[in-house]
């Protein structure tokens, strides 16, 4: 296990043991801004070294994957978990999008194992943020309209797509990731050099601190599991594994390295906890956020960074 995960466990322990340890809200925000920007910058510098022509077809395939994943999750949630359209669409939106911190832990893992990967991966992270959320919300809404039509009543308050798209496309995670990518790309390796001290040399340490906080938060979500813990533990681990396989297979099809396959699997398996909750809370008011966050933060995030990551890597090695 990467030592970075130990910080997560420390945070989780502190919360479960009811320690008074808390990280200030401003630190949480700062660390997350830092991670998004640093990942973007690093990716941008690397993109500057590649021809965009080679990356473009991969990028399109990755976007398509992001849009398709919720279509897999939604029927599972409707049929097996008997969730409402709203809840199923909401959870599908979370799992269709990605978790940037999970990605960062994945990078740390591969670096430690000295496994190479396509260095422009941060671009894929940025591309995967949005499509899954949009499709998930679409599913929630279509279901709602269908239900309203069945009942012969007027359709529920329509989702206002303009503000919603604005919100996801200009949400802080997309702005910082894409902004970092563009700055890194324009500045190039030499231009970015004076910023390395902050954005690259400290990256792992900041990630460790952020995982400490994530441990505190994730362990706080365990209360959300109470009522449906069997479903949540099951879905929160099996769905990611399923998605990881999809991501890994797609990675192979796209000709990625083993490291790249692993990362694409991990991205598919990861669930958003920044962009998705913000967008869906307003777009799908009837959805229970305790359910989606309990799953994404309380189950899938810890699973992915501890057991999931090595598992996906093993699968990628086998499929290669």
């Amino acid at each position: 296990m990467d030592p970075v995960v130990l910080f997560f466990l420390l945070g989780a322990f502190a919360r479960l043991a009811k320690s008074d340890l808390r990280l200030p809200e401003a630190l949480y925000e700062t660390l997350s801004i830092y991670l998004l920007l640093a990942i973007g910058l690093k990716g941008g510098v690397e993109i500057a070294k590649h021809s965009l022509g080679a990356v473009a077809p991969q990028a399109l395939a990755v976007i398509a994957m992001g849009a398709l994943l919720p279509l897999v999750a939604f029927p599972v949630l409707r049929i097996f978990a008997k969730l409402s359209h709203a809840d199923a669409g909401n959870i599908a939106a979370h799992y269709g999008s990605v978790s940037v911190v999970t990605f960062a832990v994945g990078i740390a893992f591969l670096t430690r194992q000295q496994v190479a990967y396509e260095s422009y991966f941060p671009l894929f992270v940025a591309l995967l943020e949005v499509p899954g959320i949009v499709v998930g919300i679409l599913l929630a809404k279509m279901g709602r309209d269908a239900m309203a039509a069945d009942a012969g009543s007027s359709p529920a308050r329509a989702v206002r797509w303009g503000p919603l798209l604005h919100e996801v496309l200009l949400g802080k995670s997309v702005v910082l990731l894409v902004g970092g990518l563009i700055i890194g790309w324009i500045a190039g390796p030499q231009g970015i050099d004076p910023f390395k001290g902050l954005f690259f040399d400290l990256f792992r340490g900041v990630l460790a601190l952020f995982l400490l906080e994530m441990g505190l938060v994730a362990a706080g979500r365990i209360a959300d599991l109470k009522s449906r813990w069997l479903f949540m533990l099951g879905f929160g681990t099996l769905m990611p594994i399923c998605f990881a396989v999809i991501g890994i297979v797609l990675g192979k099809a796209l000709g990625l390295s083993v490291g790249g396959m692993t990362l694409l699997g991990l991205l598919a398996a990861s669930a958003s906890y920044i962009a998705a909750p913000t967008a869906t809370r307003i777009a799908i008011p009837e959805a229970n956020p305790g359910l989606s966050i309990g799953l994404a933060l309380g189950v899938t995030f810890p699973f992915n960074i501890t057991l999931g990551m090595p598992l996906y890597h093993a699968i990628a090695q086998r499929l290669n």
Partner: protein, 100 residues
Amino acid sequence: MQTHPKKLLVIIAEAALEKLLIKDARRLGAHGYTVAEVHGGGATGERDADWEGNRSIRMEVICDEAVAQTIAEHVLNSYCKNYSVSMFLADVEVLRPAKF
């Protein structure tokens, strides 16, 4: 010094609603608003601001009784079913009645 009666409407809600509440209040006749970041607990559990989705705000609007009633009713109908919201009204006095 003469004082004039107004209503104080206080809305405690999930931070996600802040922008909507401000827009609604302005639209329904409020001349201004004041927001504080808070944490708390109620029927839907503890909201201890430990991450973004768990933040709460306390919004204060000083206005005429009719405006306060309109806003309160709107909030009740639009948000109280699906979101964590608490609301109360109080009688207050102000010095510059035209301002509120």
